[in-house]
C-alpha cells in the first residue's frame, strides 16, 4: 500500500510541477483575444528544422522572424510587437500534432503562420478549425488549403502545385516539344497535384515514378526513367530529393532536361547538397513567383538583404530567405489591414478582402470563396550556377483555364520597408 501511495503522490507532484511552467500569453488587450495584448501579438509556426526536409526549409522561419524584428524595431504594427514562436516538427506529421497543440493550447498563439509541409499541415487543419485559430499562408502548394467552406480560417501562400504543374507543362510543350517527358514526384498531394497540372497540358507522361522522404534512395526510380528513354524529367521534389535525383541520374549516365517545381529548386540549397556536383544543375528549369536573389537592382531584394544583415546574422541569402521575408511582409500587411482592435475574425476578414501589393510577381487570389495563394509564376533557368528569368510571368487556375501571360507591374516596397495600414 505504501508503494501505491508513493506512486500516486509522485504522479500528482509531477503533474503539478508540469503545470507550473504553464505561463501562456493570455491577453489583457483586445477583449481577451488569445495571444494579443496592447503591446504584443504572438504568432506560431511549425517548421522542419531537423529531418529529411530541413535542407533549405529550416532557413524560412528565421527569415520571417528577422523581418518581424525589423518591423518591431520600427514600432511594430498598431503599437504591437510581433513575437514569432518557431517549433521544430522534423517534417513528421505526428510531431506536428504535438507542437501545434503546444502552440495553440499552451503558448496561446493568436494565429498559426506559414506552417510548412503538405503531409504535416494536413493533419492539423481540423484541430486549428475547432479552436478557431487563423491558419495563414501555409508553406505548401497543396490545394487542401483552398477549402473556404470546410476550413474557413486556412489560407495558402504558394501557387498551388497544379497551377505550377500547368506552367511547367507549358514550358515543356513550347520549348521541348516532341521529347519524351517523364515525371518523378513525392508520394503525396504534392506529387499528385503537380502531376495533375502537368498532364492537363501535356497529356499523359511517358513514365511516372514516386519517392517517399523516409527512403533516401531514388536509384530504382531514376533507373526506370532511364530505361523508359525519358528526355525530359519533371520533378515534384523537396530540395534534398532534387539533388538526389540529379546526382543519381548523373551516376548512371542519364542526362535528361530537368524541369523542377519551385519548392525544390532553390539553386543555393540544391547546389550545396550536390557539393562538387553542383555544375550538374546547369540548364535546370524551374519556376519562381518572388524576386530572384541575384537581382541586386530589385528594391525588394535590397530591402530583404538589409533586413538579413541587420536581424538575421547575415545568413546566406537564398530563395528561402526571400520566401520567409515575403511571408512576414504579407502577414504584417494583413495585421495592418485588420486594424487596431485586433481579433481573429478581423484578421481573416482582412485576408479575404485581399488587395495586398507585395514582392510577388503575380497577384494573390484571396477572396471570400478562394483561399489559394499566388495564382501563377515565371520560369527560371540556371545559367552559370545562378537562376535567371525566362519569358514573362504566367497565371492560370487549378482547373481548365488556359495558361496566360501576366502583364501587371510589380509593386515597390514602401520607403521604410514596413507596409502602411
Amino acid at each position: 500500500m505504501k508503494r501505491t501511495a508513493t506512486t500516486v503522490l509522485a504522479v500528482v507532484l509531477l503533474a503539478t510541477a508540469g503545470c507550473t511552467n504553464d505561463g501562456g500569453g493570455g491577453g489583457t488587450g483586445s477583449a481577451n483575444v488569445p495571444g494579443v495584448t496592447d503591446s504584443s501579438v504572438i504568432v506560431g509556426t511549425h517548421m522542419p528544422l531537423t529531418g529529411p526536409a530541413a535542407a533549405g526549409y529550416s532557413k524560412i522561419a528565421p527569415a520571417t522572424k528577422a523581418y518581424f524584428d525589423y518591423v518591431n524595431k520600427n514600432g511594430g504594427v498598431h503599437g504591437r510587437k510581433i513575437e514569432y514562436k518557431i517549433k521544430d516538427d522534423g517534417y513528421n506529421p505526428a510531431n506536428t500534432q504535438t507542437v501545434v497543440r503546444e502552440l495553440v493550447l499552451q503558448d496561446k498563439v493568436f494565429a498559426v503562420l506559414n506552417g510548412l509541409g503538405t503531409p504535416t499541415h494536413t493533419g492539423v487543419l481540423d484541430f486549428l478549425k475547432t479552436n478557431r485559430v487563423p491558419d495563414l499562408f501555409v508553406a505548401s502548394g497543396s490545394r487542401s488549403w483552398n477549402q473556404a467552406d470546410k476550413y474557413p480560417g486556412t489560407f495558402g501562400f504558394n501557387p498551388d502545385y497544379t497551377v505550377e504543374g500547368k506552367i511547367l507543362g507549358t514550358y515543356v510543350k513550347e520549348n521541348l516539344a516532341g521529347k519524351k517527358a517523364c515525371f518523378l514526384g513525392q508520394d503525396d498531394d504534392f506529387g499528385r497535384d503537380s502531376l495533375a497540372g502537368i498532364e492537363k497540358i501535356l497529356g499523359s507522361v511517358a513514365a511516372k515514378e514516386s519517392y517517399v522522404t523516409s527512403n533516401p534512395n531514388v536509384g530504382p526510380q531514376m533507373g526506370a526513367l532511364k530505361a523508359a528513354g525519358c528526355e525530359v524529367v519533371l520533378l515534384a521534389t523537396v530540395p534534398g530529393f532534387t539533388a538526389l535525383s540529379i546526382g543519381t541520374a548523373a551516376k548512371i549516365a542519364f542526362k535528361p532536361q530537368f524541369v523542377v517545381s519551385n519548392v525544390g529548386a532553390d539553386p543555393t540549397t540544391v547546389g550545396k547538397a550536390l557539393g562538387a556536383g553542383a555544375p550538374l544543375m546547369e540548364g535546370l528549369v524551374a519556376t519562381n513567383y518572388l524576386p530572384l536573389t541575384t537581382d541586386e537592382a530589385n528594391p525588394w531584394i535590397q530591402l530583404f538583404k538589409k533586413v538579413n544583415a541587420e536581424h538575421n546574422g547575415n545568413a546566406e541569402f537564398d530563395n528561402n530567405t526571400v520566401y520567409g521575408m515575403s511571408v512576414g511582409y504579407l502577414f504584417v500587411q494583413a495585421l495592418q489591414a485588420a486594424g487596431k482592435d485586433l481579433t481573429r475574425d478581423k484578421l481573416t476578414e482582412a485576408v479575404k478582402k485581399n488587395g495586398f501589393q507585395g514582392p510577388g510577381l503575380v497577384p494573390l487570389r484571396f477572396s471570400a470563396t478562394d483561399h489559394s495563394g499566388y495564382g501563377g509564376a515565371q520560369l527560371t533557368k540556371v545559367v552559370g550556377g545562378k537562376a535567371a528569368w525566362v519569358g514573362t510571368p504566367y497565371t492560370t487556375d487549378d482547373k481548365d483555364a488556359p495558361v496566360t501571360a501576366y502583364q501587371g507591374q510589380a509593386a515597390t516596397p514602401p520607403q521604410n520597408g514596413v507596409p502602411a495600414a
Binding site: 493550447l105 503531409p119 484541430f127
Partner: protein
C-alpha cells in the same frame, strides 16, 4: 543455440523485490486501479488543456508499455517491433473509422486485427531466442514505412490517413475527453494484465522465462505460453496505437518509427522491467523527457538541438538509472526501505 538460451533469458531479470513475488500483502489490483481512476479524473479537471493532452498521451503509452513489460520482463521475450504493432492498430482504426464512423466498433476491429498480427509474429517468435527474436521483431518495425508506400492506394504513403472523428459531447473540452478516453482504455488494459499475471498464467510466464526445461518438466506448454504472451502484449500495443490515431486524428508511418520501438524498450527498462508501476513510470518519461529536452533546446537557442536532444537525454537517463537503481525507477521505494532496514 543452447549457449544463447540461458544468457538471453537471464539477462532481463533484475533481482528485485518487485518482480520476484515475496510473501507480502499486496493491494488487490482493482483497488489500485480504482484509486488511479480517481486521481486521473481529478487531474483532468485541474490541468490546463495542453497538459490534459499530454496526460492522454501518457495513458496511450501506458497501454503499450504495460503490455511490453509483461512480455519482456515476465516472459523474457525481447520485442523491438512493438511500434509496428501500434501502427497496425492505428491504421486499422483509421481505415475502419473512416468507413463506418463508429468509434467503439473501430476499436474492436483494431483489437481483432492486432490480435491476428500478434499471433502470426508470436508463432514465429516462439521458435526464436534472444538476438534472433530481437532481429525478427526489428524487421517488423522497419517494414512499416515500406508497407505504407508499397500499398499507397490504401495507406497513402508518408502522408498517412486522417481519422474522421465525431466531436466530443458539447459539455466537455476536447482534451479532457481525450484524457478520459485514453485513461479508461489504459486502466482497463492494466487491470486485465494485473489480474492475468497474478494467477496461473503469470506463474507460467515466469517459469518459462527462468528455465524452459524446468517449466516443461512442470507440465507447462512452452510454445503456447510464449505465443499467448506475445498476443496479449500485441493487443495492448494495438489499443495504444488506436488511441494514438484518435489523439492525433491522423496516422502516418512517421508516427511509428524504429526509434519509437526502441524508446518503448528503454522506457520499460528505466521504469523497472516486469513491473506495471514501472510501465507507468516509463509512459510518463516518454512524454516528459522529450518535452523537457525541447524546452532546454529552446532556451539554449539552438533550434537544431530541439529535434535531436531527446535521444541523448533518454540514453543518459538509461545509463544513470541502470547505475543507480538496476531494478528501474519502480524499484527505488523498495530499495530505500531495504536500506533503512539494513541500517537499523
Amino acid at each position: 543455440m543452447t549457449d544463447v538460451k540461458p544468457k538471453a533469458s537471464a539477462a532481463p531479470v533484475p533481482d528485485t523485490g518487485l518482480i520476484v513475488p515475496k510473501r507480502r500483502r499486496r493491494p488487490h489490483p482493482v483497488l489500485v486501479i480504482a484509486i488511479g481512476a480517481v486521481v486521473v479524473v481529478a487531474l483532468t479537471y485541474v490541468l490546463p488543456p495542453f497538459r490534459n493532452y499530454q496526460l492522454a498521451t501518457v495513458g496511450a503509452y501506458f497501454c503499450v508499455t504495460a503490455g511490453l513489460t509483461v512480455l519482456t520482463g515476465l516472459n523474457g521475450q525481447l520485442s523491438l517491433g512493438h511500434g509496428a504493432l501500434m501502427a497496425t492498430g492505428a491504421y486499422t482504426l483509421a481505415l475502419t473509422q473512416n468507413k463506418f464512423m463508429n468509434l467503439p466498433f473501430s476499436f474492436a476491429v483494431a483489437i481483432l486485427v492486432t490480435t491476428a498480427a500478434g499471433a502470426v509474429i508470436g508463432l514465429a517468435a516462439a521458435r526464436l531466442r534472444g538476438p534472433y527474436l530481437a532481429g525478427l521483431t526489428l524487421a517488423v518495425a522497419i517494414v512499416v514505412p515500406s508497407v505504407t508506400s508499397t500499398f499507397d492506394e490504401t495507406f497513402n504513403s508518408d502522408q498517412g490517413l486522417s481519422v474522421v472523428l465525431d466531436p466530443p459531447p458539447e459539455a466537455f473540452p476536447m482534451e479532457q475527453w481525450q484524457a478520459w478516453l485514453c485513461w479508461s482504455a489504459a486502466l482497463v488494459v492494466v487491470l486485465l494484465l494485473a489480474l492475468l499475471v497474478r494467477g496461473r498464467f503469470g506463474r507460467d510466464l515466469r517459469a518459462v522465462r527462468d528455465d524452459e526445461t524446468a517449466a516443461r518438466l512442470a507440465g507447462i506448454n512452452i510454445a503456447r505460453t510464449q505465443v499467448l504472451a506475445f498476443v496479449v502484449s500485441a493487443v495492448c500495443a494495438g489499443v495504444a496505437g488506436a488511441l494514438f490515431a484518435v489523439l492525433a486524428q491522423s496516422v502516418s508511418p512517421g508516427a511509428f518509427p524504429l526509434t519509437l520501438s526502441l524508446f518503448l524498450i528503454m522506457a520499460i527498462v528505466i521504469g523497472g522491467l516486469g513491473s506495471l508501476f514501472g510501465a507507468l513510470w516509463g509512459a510518463v518519461l516518454l512524454v516528459v523527457l522529450p518535452t523537457l529536452s525541447q524546452s532546454v533546446g529552446e532556451q539554449t537557442g539552438s533550434q537544431r538541438l530541439e529535434g535531436n536532444l531527446a535521444l541523448i537525454v533518454f540514453g543518459v537517463v538509461l545509463v544513470v538509472v541502470m547505475l543507480a537503481a538496476p531494478g528501474g525507477l519502480a524499484s527505488i521505494p523498495s530499495r530505500i526501505t531495504r536500506l533503512i532496514r539494513r541500517n537499523r
